[in-house]
Subunit: 453 residues, 2 copies
Amino acid sequence: MSREELTKIILPEEKLPKYWYNVQADMPNPLEPGLNPKTKEPLTPADLEPIFAKDLIEQEVSTERYIEIPDEIRELYKKWRPAPLFRAHGLEKALDTNCRIYYKYEGVSPVGSHKLNSALAQVYYNKKQGIKRITTETGAGQWGTALSLACQIFDVECMVYMVKVSFNQKPYRKSFMQMYGGKCVASPSELTESGRSILANNPDSPGTLAIAISEAVEDAASREDTNYSLGSVLNHVCLHQTIIGQEVKLQMEMIDEYPDVVIGAVGGGSNFAGIAFPFIPDKLAGKNVRLVGVEPSACPTLTKGVFAYDYGDVVGHTPMLKMYTLGHNYIPPGIHAGGLRYHGQSPLISQLYYDELLEAVAVRQNAVFEAAMLFSQTEGILPAPESSHAIRATIDEALRAQEEGVSKAIVFNVGGHGHLDLSAYDNYLTGKTEDVEFTDEILQKSLDSLPKV
Amino acid sequence: MSREELTKIILPEEKLPKYWYNVQADMPNPLEPGLNPKTKEPLTPADLEPIFAKDLIEQEVSTERYIEIPDEIRELYKKWRPAPLFRAHGLEKALDTNCRIYYKYEGVSPVGSHKLNSALAQVYYNKKQGIKRITTETGAGQWGTALSLACQIFDVECMVYMVKVSFNQKPYRKSFMQMYGGKCVASPSELTESGRSILANNPDSPGTLAIAISEAVEDAASREDTNYSLGSVLNHVCLHQTIIGQEVKLQMEMIDEYPDVVIGAVGGGSNFAGIAFPFIPDKLAGKNVRLVGVEPSACPTLTKGVFAYDYGDVVGHTPMLKMYTLGHNYIPPGIHAGGLRYHGQSPLISQLYYDELLEAVAVRQNAVFEAAMLFSQTEGILPAPESSHAIRATIDEALRAQEEGVSKAIVFNVGGHGHLDLSAYDNYLTGKTEDVEFTDEILQKSLDSLPKV
């Protein structure tokens, strides 16, 4: 069938990629090294081994272009992968656009989001070296849920520090993790020194991802049998997510299509990296493809932040990474896309953005919800608020193309469904969602927390 | 690949069935006619035309074996169909069973449940004859959500009366419907005569499906441009759901497999009918296949009810149908499987059960949740509480087979995911779910409401 007739483009299971794509092999400028938070010297593998599996540390620094997906992971991926690519006929019609719009849908995973792509890989490698317990943090809850399931599959204990404001807004995320056998506590908690010191200063702290990371890292570092796991930002996490973009490329080939624009929401970066990185080699080879990350205007790391060394967490337990950042003390307003409320950015995305291989736009919450509603009504799928950032930017691209009288092929990533985010939509439908202005004053204040290198 | 190796059995899109299977063509004993609630005479099409589309009335009484699925519906089905069939390797291992266990997974539909199979068909036929507005009732909310989306697709207004206890327990179901453009009110409401009279007697009425049906039917009957739509029970609804079982048969053929036991949860009946009816011709031809419906012990329509004429709603607006019933005044306790809290049963299932072509078992709520948790942890999918009834019965079948030293092939239907039911799981995890005893006394009292024919 032609691409005009098809709605769902299905990649045959035997075409499921056998390798993750490592963008570090192709970067014009390599990453600057992470720094030990105490010595401020470049990180060594020995710095990371107390909390990360050796195979993951290797992936973190590898410059091999393709890294084999272990058979066991690939078999687990087949539970829901290859994930469908849809032609957005309904959305196109509503926009009256000449653009051809496609979206990858990761919401068919058992946990409802793309996060399981990396969770399975991370727990697999940890289990392989005998780790019995893994700690992590979660914002909106997607990552904590995915890691809970992955730990259950490999018989590893899972301990999740969940940002308190989300924990209270979405109590049922905890139940979801518990159904998978995971433990979930609100962060800041009394369980760690980091948590206790935050609570001592501010008993009502709503928490942030940066605080929760401090707790999870401290917990992992303090126990021999325990490692730490991060759901975004790091190179190996972005690596695992490249299965998304590789599938997209194969699916578009099947219908003799190639995108002019590739769009993904960007918080810590794994979602956007997943769909965009596999297009980098084409771009470097001269293909005219734009790769656009979409962030919330309330937390505009790429569009307003600085490219500098900063901590990943609030206390300074994590290595210092060269990345776009708003400062590790920045507390983003309580927008509903909890998964995008992070002060920093994947170093890989940061370097590629700095080198102008990636673009970024910031969009406002209410415009995002409006886009989500149009998408729900025309494509039938209720998207997660995070993913809806990509939808907003896609609609804007299509409208702009219309004004310019051109036709483009646009593909974006719907990283998860929004069936667990209905309280956010309820707020939108009842007029309770605000657009917060991010000012230079806020920026200056938050950048004060940047460490000196 | 052999059936031992495969986890996910994928039916190619071109094999998507082109016909719904109509069990009325093959029933040893035909249905007894529905009766006009006023005259108690057999229903005529004219009795139904004020609230149902003509094509659906035709389907309701048709004895054609195969009814063609219109191309437009089939194209819409392709958004998520054919739905995957999984081999439950994880569950089998946990049970240490020799049985081969399979499950069909309808949770991949955009609304997260099988209900969309019939919603799309019903709105299509209504739209075709110019209907501008459709009313319905919903218990757990799955049906109301599916109908809201289907109405949005065909540009028809949607009005949902939602059982008040569910409406209050799950406020976000309303938001989901609203995102699709549907309107949703708590029932009993002040909008209808039926609702007002219930509220006059009992202002705190928690509502029931039977009350909500009264409201939706009254609303539809009172407006020329409005029809009524039901998400289960009726023949045409069961018909539309047979796409499930037809796909299952094709998928099992692909791996040279045939089930000894087919299992589905049964409330109004469309889920169970969907997976079971396509096996009826084989059974009549001598195949040794058992078809087992699973109901909650708190609402044991098939296992404890009587086979008699009764109303579908509480007020007596609907036709009287010959069915297994607990009496239309029966108010089931507030178990969490809201979709199974219905006093009656599909007349088709009732007749086939009476004729011993179908079996039924009743299971308790806490045992159901326990099964759901095991399934979540071994298969990765969090099931809806309704679907978890089928999981419970499957586990019991497998354990019994183990005791008897036999190996069986068992297939069951997971009609929906449980991402919208986490409040129920939270209650289970915190020890708040009760098992309510259904006694002969309760039965006698509720049967007092049966109408005289």
